[in-house]
Symmetry: C2
Subunit: 197 residues, 2 copies
């Protein structure tokens, strides 16, 4: 619909996740009216991130070096590993400031429908990290949905033979939430996992 | 939350219209997992669009040359000008294939609240285009909302003294809506039923 290159940009932007054709058009016009300097910055950042940022060889988190900042940090407890599906989840958990151990990013969850089996995830790398006996606890922090639960169940079975405490993040009512709006499954879990006061 | 450059990209993406912090994070992670070649393409397109695309000297539409493809097209009726608020609106109207004349992009609408007065729009350029008497009809296709109506009323008054038929897009467009989001059929009807002012 537009002269060549503008339409090309709109098409390319429309391929980004969560950006539909209308948003893509809006962003393209925003770009046309943004100072050149800012557009260059974004353009450079896109290229640099793709070229310089990689995934940590040890845990699979995003990193600009072979090992990510968490794996390099000697203050992080090497005996506890928190297993997450995605590198995004690392930063979500970091924001809580509750966890002082290290991470292992699986790169997804087991999903027969999407054709993702255990072999498609970074599970062998996890087993290798556990082999030397340093790790004493593994926290399974995969998502509390069908795929995440299946992955947690699979890993839990895989780790039973080892001398490792395996735990799963608690399910229950979200803090600040309202009982009235909780779904039955969540509420059921909250009952199951009730703590004595 | 992330190692330097990834967070920078998230921040920069979050400044785009319609992209919140969560979407920005999602896009950044998508970039990390997209082939380098595609990311380079997007990066180059952003820069090229900003550097090469400009606004048509005559009508204000987006263009890679001094005059846009519509102003250069000898088949387009030079006697009819469709006045729109934004360059985006040109492509929306082009999609209906109803209109064979030329355009004039105002670059916004009169809005006392936003501090946009007639002098901030490309109204002098419009008057200049009308001065030689070639144009016999002006269609006011500003948005059917408060600012768009005010702008149409202002222009209509400005043009009464001239030998020009002034019309406004017909109702059919939902009042309070936005031209950008109108479907082609509705917009086509609006062209057919335009009212003389």
């Amino acid at each position: 619909m537009y002269d060549g290159i503008v339409q090309e940009l709109i098409d390319e932007l429309g391929r980004l996740p969560g950006v539909g054709p209308k948003s893509a058009q809006r962003i393209a016009f925003h770009i046309l009216q943004t100072p050149s300097f800012d557009v260059s910055r974004l353009s450079d950042l896109l290229r640099d991130v793709r070229e310089r940022v990689r995934f940590c060889d040890v845990c699979g988190n995003v990193s600009e070096e072979e090992r990510c900042s968490i794996c390099r940090d000697p203050r992080r407890d090497p005996e506890v590993i928190c297993v997450v599906e995605d590198a995004k989840d690392v930063s979500v958990i970091e924001r809580t400031r509750e966890f002082k151990g290290r991470y292992h990013v699986l790169g997804g969850a087991i999903s027969p429908i999407a054709g993702v089996g255990p072999d498609d995830l970074r599970i062998p790398q996890l087993m290798q990290r556990l082999a030397d006996g340093t790790v004493t606890e593994v926290i399974l922090a995969t998502n509390p949905n069908l795929e995440g639960e299946a992955t947690a169940a699979y890993l839990s079975r895989l780790l039973t033979s080892m001398e490792i405490t395996v735990s799963r993040l608690a399910s229950g009512l979200p803090v600040g939430g309202d009982l009235e709006y909780a779904d039955e499954v969540t509420l059921g879990r909250a009952f199951e996992g009730r703590r004595k006061l």
